[in-house]
C-alpha cells in the first residue's frame, strides 16, 4: 500500500495564481483531511470529508476549496493565491465508522511546501 500520496512536493506560485494540491489514499478510509502548518505552529485543519460527496470546513477554510468525488481522492484548490497561504500542506486520512468508540489514528502524506510570492 502506498498509503496517502500527495503531489506536488514543492510549488512556488505568484500572487493571484491558482493551483490544486492532489491527495489520494489507497486504504479505503472514509475520512480525509487537509491541514496546513505554519512555522512554529501546530497543524490547523482546513477542510475535511467523512465520505465521498461530503465535505466540511475546518478551522481555516478561507481561500480554499475541496471536493470528494471518490473515496480515494481529496484535492485542495487554491483559487487566488495569497502570501498568507505560504505554508506546508498535509493531507491525512483515517478509518472512520459511524458509532466508532475511539478515533482512528491519522495517516499522513509527505506534505506539499507551497510558497506564494
Amino acid at each position: 500500500n502506498a498509503g496517502v500520496t500527495q503531489t506536488p512536493k514543492f510549488r512556488i506560485l505568484k500572487i493571484g495564481q491558482s493551483m490544486t494540491l492532489q491527495c489520494t489514499q489507497d486504504m479505503n478510509h472514509n475520512y480525509m483531511y487537509w491541514y496546513r502548518q505554519d512555522p512554529g505552529m501546530g497543524l490547523k485543519l482546513i477542510y475535511y470529508s467523512v465520505g465521498a460527496g461530503i465535505t466540511d470546513k475546518g478551522e481555516v477554510p478561507n481561500g480554499y476549496n475541496v471536493s470528494r468525488s471518490t473515496t480515494e481522492d481529496f484535492p485542495l484548490r487554491l483559487e487566488l493565491a495569497a502570501p498568507s497561504q505560504t505554508s506546508v500542506y498535509f493531507c491525512a486520512s483515517s478509518y472512520g465508522a459511524r458509532g466508532q468508540l475511539y478515533n482512528s489514528p491519522l495517516h499522513f502524506g509527505n506534505g506539499t511546501r507551497l510558497t506564494v510570492t
Binding site: A92, L106, F108
Partner: protein, 107 residues
C-alpha cells in the same frame, strides 16, 4: 478554550539520558490523546495513543486527567529518537495539534 500546549520548542539531551516531552491540554469533554512523530525526511506518523497504554520504541505516556497532561517519556534516549514530536488531542470530530517539540539526542 480547547488547546494543546507543548511548552518546549526544542529539547536537547545526551544519549542515554532520560527524556520527557511535556504536553498539557485544555478540553471540556473526554479527549483522546496521541503522540505523533516526524523523523527527518519521513512523514508524520502515530507513535502512541493513550487508550493503548503501551510502550512504543521505549516511549510511554500516561494521561493525567487531574493535571490535564499527557507527557511523553523515555528512560534512556537514543540518537535515532531525534525527531519532531506532536501531542494531539481528538474530541468529537475535533483534532487539535500542539506546536511540536523538536528532540535532539546528542552522542
Amino acid at each position: 478554550a480547547q488547546r494543546v500546549t507543548q511548552p518546549e520548542k526544542l529539547l536537547s539531551v545526551f544519549k542515554g539520558a532520560p527524556v520527557e516531552l511535556k504536553c498539557n491540554y485544555s478540553y471540556s469533554g473526554s479527549p483522546e490523546l496521541f503522540w505523533y512523530v516526524q523523523y527527518s525526511r519521513q512523514r508524520l506518523q502515530l507513535l502512541l495513543r493513550h487508550i493503548s497504554r503501551e510502550s512504543i520504541k521505549g516511549f510511554t505516556a500516561d494521561l493525567n486527567k487531574g493535571e490535564t497532561s499527557f507527557h511523553l517519556k523515555k528512560p534512556f534516549a537514543q540518537e535515532e529518537d531525534s525527531a519532531m514530536y506532536y501531542c494531539v488531542l481528538t474530541g468529537g470530530f475535533k483534532t487539535i495539534f500542539g506546536a511540536g517539540t523538536r528532540l535532539f539526542v546528542k552522542a
